[in-house]
Every structure is written in C-alpha cells, then in structure tokens.
C-alpha cells in the first residue's frame, strides 16, 4: 500500500500524500447512520481478502477431512504389517510403498494425523483456557491476586517446556502404563499445557491492563455495567486478539513438540499410529541414508500441517492488527 514514487529511497515513501486512500467520493458514501461494525466483522472482512488465509484454510480443511474420514484417502490398514513386504516399492493403492515393518507408509501417515492433531488442538485449548482466565483475573483485579498469579506463572515459566514435560510424562507413564488412545493423548496434552500456559497468561494480563483503562470501559461503567459484566463483555473480547494469534501458531508448535517427545521415546506410546512415532522409527534408516521415503512422507505431512497453522496465525495477526499490517 505504499504510494512510492519512482526512484524513492527507503524511508521516503511517506512523503507522498496518500491521495488515493480516501477520495472525497468515498467519504460521501459513508452511511453515518449505519450501525458500527464490530472489530471481529472488520477483521473477517480483511481476512477474507488475504491469500495467506485461504492457503492456510485449504491445508487445515484437508487435514480436518483426513482426521475425520481417513478411509477417503487410503484403503489400507495402518496397523497391518507383514514383514514380507518390508520396503516394498510403491504399488497400486499404496503410493509410497512400505516401511521397515511392512506397513503401508501412506496409510500410517493418514491415520497418524489423528493423534498429532488431537494433541495440538487439545493442548492449545487447555493452554488458552488456563492462560486467558488467569491472565484476565490478574490484569483486572490487580493487587494480591495479581501478585499470586504472576509469581505462580513465573515459576512454571522458568521450567523449560520440553524438560518439564518429560518429567511429567515419565512419572504418569510409570503410575498408569496402559491408557488407550485418549488417555495417552491426555497425558501429553497435560504435560505440555502445564508448562506452556504462563506465556498466554502474561500476554493476556498485559492486554487486559492496556484495555481496562480505555474510555469505552469507563463508558460501560457509567451506564451501570457491573465489574464482572465489564470484564466479560468489554475487556476480555478486546484484549483477546494477541492471544488468538499466538494460540493459532502454538497449535503447530504443540504438534512439533509431540513429535519431539515421541522422538525421545516418551510421547505417545509406540503402539499408537502417530507422525511422531513414525519419524522416530525412521531415524535409524536416515542414519544409513536408505529408504528415506519412510521419513519424508510423515515429515512432509507434519511440516505442511504446522505451516498451515503458522500461516493462519500470520493471516489472523494481519487482519486483527491493521497497524502492523500497514507498517
């Protein structure tokens, strides 16, 4: 959106008056009696125009279909392995061939989406819920409540996520060895969220502190809104945008973290079909440089998924924060 004159040096773009930005005609057609649009509607309008958003949406939509209906993508059974087919080349209905165990690589990747996405989605939900509630309370009420929550978040923040998660998972796995699909996902989610929420708390607290002294909050108080209504209806919704951006990006980060935990042999149990486990299994092959397809397929699936969420986060950031978009 720069009105750059030819040959302008960087930093000089702003000298040009932005004549075409709001022509007089545009001002004339503004309907002054119209109901003002909410910030979310405006954000959605901007989001719709972003190619980044549509690219991310396509990726996430395909992923969602893959999670819900894996049979649409493959007819093979990810758990059926016959050693006779070890490293067999691609064939009809098996686009990438077979892995070390003789299981269909593509089928394992398709079915593996479920566990990885489940960890990403639920870890994000728990983190955001914990972070938004604690951050909003700390920022809004201040005083001793703020001190308590801030110190507590400092404590959890000081423990590195990966290290803390390893300790938590290893303890829980020793107490409850067999958990099934959702039990295993729950443990990884709990371990990651336990050390990740302070980030959101800090962000939310800062945003609430900024918003709570703005005029529209005073206005709401003046027309008789109670403290809680103010917090719920006016402050939290207006302080939420930075959290939404980091939540979107952290969804991808959690998926990567799960695969890192599986790589260390401590994430989801080895019997579960997940990208992390497939990548972990592939590591010995990569060391010898053979059958690299066993690693590339799940690695690409994981990278594209994470890319989808990172791009969505970038698009949402631009849509929610017009200031950052212009600069």
């Amino acid at each position: 959106m720069h009105d750059t004159q030819p040959g302008a040096r960087p930093g000089q773009e702003r000298y040009v008056a932005p004549t075409d930005e709001t022509p007089l005609r545009a001002i004339d057609v503004v309907d002054v009696d119209a109901v003002p649009e909410s910030q979310w509607r405006e954000a959605w309008k901007r989001l719709r125009k972003s190619p980044l958003f549509w690219l991310a949406s396509v990726i996430i939509l395909v992923l969602a279909v893959m999670v819900a209906f894996p049979t649409l993508f493959t007819s093979a059974d990810p758990n059926q392995a016959s050693l006779g087919k070890q490293f067999d080349p691609p064939g009809d209905g098996h686009p990438f061939g077979y892995n070390f165990q003789g299981a269909d690589i593509w089928a394992r990747t398709v079915y593996g989406a479920r566990a990885s996405v489940a960890v990403g989605v639920f870890a994000t939900l728990v983190t955001v819920l914990l972070g938004v509630v604690t951050g909003a309370i700390a920022g809004f009420y201040g005083g001793i409540v703020d001190t308590l929550i801030s110190r507590l978040s400092d404590i959890f923040f000081s423990i590195p996520v990966l290290l803390g998660s390893i300790v938590v998972i290893s303890v829980i796995n020793n107490v409850y060895p067999n958990k099934g699909f959702w039990g295993s996902v729950f443990v990884v989610v709990l371990a990651l969220a336990l050390f990740a929420w302070p980030q959101i708390t800090r962000q939310m607290r800062g945003a609430v502190l900024e918003v709570k002294n703005l005029e529209f909050v005073d206005a709401a108080t003046a027309i008789g809104a109670s403290k809680l209504t103010n917090l719920r209806r006016h402050i939290v919704p207006n302080a939420l945008s930075p959290v939404i951006v980091s939540a979107t990006i952290s969804l991808g980060v959690f998926i990567v973290a799960e695969s890192a935990l599986s790589f260390l042999g401590i994430g989801l149990p080895q019997t579960m079909v997940s990208w992390g486990n497939d990548l972990s299994d592939a590591q010995t092959l990569v060391r010898s440089g053979q059958h690299l397809v066993v690693m590339w397929v799940p690695a690409t699936a994981l990278a594209v998924t994470v890319l989808g969420f990172v791009l969505l986060g970038e698009a949402v950031r631009e849509a929610l924060d017009p200031k950052a978009r212009k600069s």
Binding site: P160, R287, G289
Partner: protein, 309 residues
C-alpha cells in the same frame, strides 16, 4: 541500578523454590523402590536398606526431604549423590561445558545470521529477498528440528564427511558446529522475522527521516539511526533464548550423541534418578533466572529511555 539487581535477585528466590518444589514432588510421585534401583535390583538386607534410606533421607517427610535437597543444591554439595552413587554436581559440571559451548555457538549463529538476513530483508521490505527469506523461515519453523538434524547429519556427516557425524567425549569446537547450527535453526527463523519487522518499522520513523533530511549518507543513517534502534528488541529476544537453547539441546544432543546436560537430564528421567533429575532442572532454572536478569540490564544499557531506579 544495584538496588534493582538486588530486588530482581530477591524475586528470583520464590521462583527457584517453587520450580524445584514442583519437580521434586513430581518425581516423588513416581512408583518403584529407589533402593532396588540403587542396588541394581538385587535384594538387600534390612540393615543396609535402613542405612541407605537414612542416607537419602527417604524416611523423612517429603517436605523435609525437599529442604535437605535444597541445602545440597544451594551449596553445590560435592557429597550429594544420585541414585547410582555418583556425585551429582560432578556430573553436571562435566556436562555443562559442552552444552554451554553448544548453546553459545548456536546463540552466535542465531545473532549473526538472524540480524544480517533480517536487516537486509527489512531494508528492502516486500522485495524479492524479503519474500524469499519469509518463505524459508516459515518452512524452517514448520519442520521438526530432529528431521532437519538427521538430514544435515546424513549429508554433512555421513555422505560428504565435512563434519563429524557424532560428537566424541573429548570434543573439539569444530565438532559442535553442525549440532549448534541445527540447534539454532528455529531461533534463526524467529530472529530474522523480528529484525526484519523492527528494521522495517524504523525505516519509516521520524528520526530516520530527519537524519536523511539533514543530509547524512545512507549507510550512516542505517548504521546509527536505524540499526541501533531496531536491535533493542532483537537483542533481548536472543539473550532470553540461551536458557531455552540449553533445554532444546536435549533433542540436538540426542541426534549427535553429545554427552551434555540434555542427555544427562533425559537419562536421569528415564532411570528415575530423582536427585539427578531435580538437580539438573534446578541448574536450568538458575540459568534461566540469571539470563533474564542479564537481559533486563542489557535492555537498560541499550535503550536509554529505560532506567531502573
């Protein structure tokens, strides 16, 4: 200034206490007989068992055990042993140099590559270089570090033999270049983005326009007015990362078989060696607290608007 340092150190105490308490209790929840772990699952006579339980304070109330532990950690007690009977701080002391060097190397790569590439991208915003770096950094952010690690290890270590594929115990600094780069990759992507945005914002700032208006040469404006102001948030980001780099080394050390803190921590957790686990995490927390203090002070040095009374 000194008052601020004292205040920050004072604030760090509850953080340190809380973090060790959490990890300590978590590891205590783990089932299994630590004495059997110590003796290699061989049965022990009740007298020996009792003596060992006394030595490790296992008969005391958990809170008291934690206090004993704290005393050992704060004094770096050389007689404080893990469940294998080896002095804990000797192990940590042996592992710290290699992980520290690895993290510092990664930090240096992060700073140099991130700032140079980010500045070039920021100076010509939306140019081809900017677009290419954006795409590359987004891709690097999306690929798990161990996949990148394995590929680079295979290419440079095994196939072309440029670097050692794994790091020997008597490591040289050249052995650590490849692992450090792998460790730094995710951070380089973020530092580049941060520098780029910061430089791009400063290019349109009023003081830069003034500097140009009074006739300063382009490079001088960029060096003295754009870069100096843009790098404040970047330096803080890079600094605060030393702690997370040392923790992130757990993966890198696994790939390249580096006998550092990450390997030590992971081994301690998998073996259920409570004293060693908690000691390693405590050292990491200390490092984190120390680094964030340094970064805050650095912030005040770099940005004259910030003064700590």
């Amino acid at each position: 200034m000194w008052w601020y340092v004292a205040k920050r150190l004072l604030q760090a105490i509850p953080v340190f206490l809380g973090a060790t308490l959490i990890i300590f209790f978590l590891t205590k929840l783990r089932p299994g007989d630590p004495i059997l772990g110590l003796t290699g699952n061989k049965p022990v006579s009740p007298e020996v068992r009792q003596a060992l339980r006394d030595q490790f304070h296992l008969n005391d109330f958990v809170g008291l055990q934690w206090l004993y532990f704290l005393k050992d950690v704060v004094t770096f007690n050389p007689n404080f042993v893990g469940l294998d009977g080896q002095p804990v701080f000797e192990k940590i002391g042996n592992a710290l140099p290699v992980t520290g060097t690895l993290a510092l190397l990664a930090l240096a790569m992060d700073a140099v590559i991130g700032i140079v590439v980010g500045t070039i991208a920021g100076l010509r915003r939306n140019g081809w270089f900017d677009s290419v770096t954006l795409v590359i950094s987004l891709i690097l952010l999306s690929i798990p570090i161990f996949v990148v690690g394995f590929v680079l290890q295979f290419l440079f270590g095994v196939k072309w033999g440029v670097f050692a594929a794994t790091v020997p115990v008597d490591w040289k600094i050249t052995d650590l270049l490849l692992p450090a780069f792998v460790l730094a990759i995710a951070n380089i992507a973020t530092t580049t983005r941060l520098t780029r945005t910061s430089v791009a914002n400063n290019m349109t700032a009023d003081h830069v326009r003034t500097a140009r208006a009074k006739g300063l040469a382009g490079p001088v404006v960029i060096r003295n007015h754009v870069l100096r102001n843009s790098l404040v948030p970047v330096v803080t980001y890079i600094g605060i990362n030393l702690g997370s780099l040392m923790a992130g080394a757990i993966i890198t050390e696994g790939i390249f078989n580096v006998q550092g803190i990450g390997n030590l921590a992971f081994g301690a957790v998998s073996r259920g060696d409570t004293p060693l686990t908690v000691a390693v995490v405590s050292v990491m927390v200390m490092l984190y607290v120390f680094m964030s203090l340094i970064v805050d002070l650095l912030y005040a040095v770099l940005d004259p608007r910030i003064r700590y009374a």
